[in-house]
Amino acid sequence: MKKTSFFKIFLTTFIISLAVLPIILSNKSWPTLARDYLFNQAFNETGASNTVSSIYLGYRLMDTLGETLVLLVAITGTMSILLNLHKQTLESVETESSLSPEKRPQNALRTNLVEVVASKLGPIILLFGLYVMLYGHISPGGGFQGGVIVASAIVFLALGTEVKTKLTNSVVLSRIEAFSFISLILVTTYVVFFTDGFFSSIATDSPFVSASIIILLNIIIGLKVGTSLAVMIIAMMGGQHAH
C-alpha cells in the first residue's frame, strides 16, 4: 500500500511538472504594458506608494468588494454548520480546548502556561495588526493582512484569562462586523459619484482624496476580516465566551 501511494505521488508530480514545463522553458518575455503604466502613474493617481494596495483599493475596488462578499458567504456557511453541530451534540461539547473553564473535563491535560502567555501576547499582536492595517498604503500589508493578524490577536485574548475585555464577546464582534460591512458597501458605492460611474476606479486628479479613501477602506476591510474570522474561530473553540 505504501509503495503504491509513493508511486501515485511521484506520478502526479511528474504530470504536473510536464504541464508546467512549457511555461518555464518558453523564451517569450512577459507583457510589460500594465507594469510600466502602474510603475509610472500609480503614485500620482492614487497617492499610495504601495502599488499593490493602489491596485486593489484604487483601480480594482469593485473586485475587492466581490472578494469581501466571498469571505462573507464562506463565514456564513461555516457558522451555520457550526451552529447545527452544537445543537446536535449539545452534551458532548466538553473538549480540552474549550474556552470556558467549566466546559472542560476535569482530567484535561492543561496548564496555565498557554493562558498566561496568550493573554500577554494578545495586546502586542493586536497592536501589530492595527499597524499593518493602518500603514497598508505606504508599506507592505493592508486591510486583509492586518485583519487576519487582528483575528489571531483576538483568539489569543480569548484563550487567555488574565485580560478581561469585551473584544472576545461574539455579540460585540458580530456588531463590529455588520457595521464595517455596511460602511464598506456605502464607501464603495459613494466612490462612484466622485468618478466616471459604476465599476470605475477611485484614481482621481487629487491624490490626497484617493489616499484618504484608501486608508479608510483599509481600516474597514481590516475590521471586517478580523472580526468575522475571530467570530468563526471562537465559535469553533466552544461557542460564546463572555468574560
Partner: protein, 78 residues
C-alpha cells in the same frame, strides 16, 4: 537559496501526504507556509509573504486542528 527552499517545500509536501498521523501533516503544512513566506520575501513580494504567514500559519492551522479533533482515528487493524 530558492532551489533549496523549494526542495524543502516539496519534501514537506510529500511528508504531509504520506504521514500516518494527520497532526504531523498539519505541522508540515504550516512549515510549508513559513518556508513559502520566506521564499516570497526573497522574491520581493512582501505583501504576499505577510498574507501567507498570517493565513497559512495562523488561521488555517487552527481550522485544520479543529477539524481533526472532531474526527475519529480509524486504522486498518481495528
Amino acid at each position: 537559496m530558492n532551489i533549496l527552499l523549494l526542495s524543502l517545500i516539496l519534501c514537506l509536501a510529500i511528508f504531509s501526504l504520506i504521514a500516518k498521523d494527520l497532526l504531523h501533516s498539519i505541522i508540515a503544512l504550516s512549515a510549508i507556509s513559513i518556508l513559502s513566506a520566506l521564499l516570497f520575501t526573497f522574491l520581493k513580494a512582501p505583501d504576499v509573504a505577510i498574507t501567507e504567514a498570517a493565513v497559512g500559519v495562523g488561521v488555517s492551522t487552527i481550522i485544520y486542528v479543529w477539524a481533526i479533533r472532531h474526527t475519529k482515528r480509524k486504522d486498518e487493524e481495528k
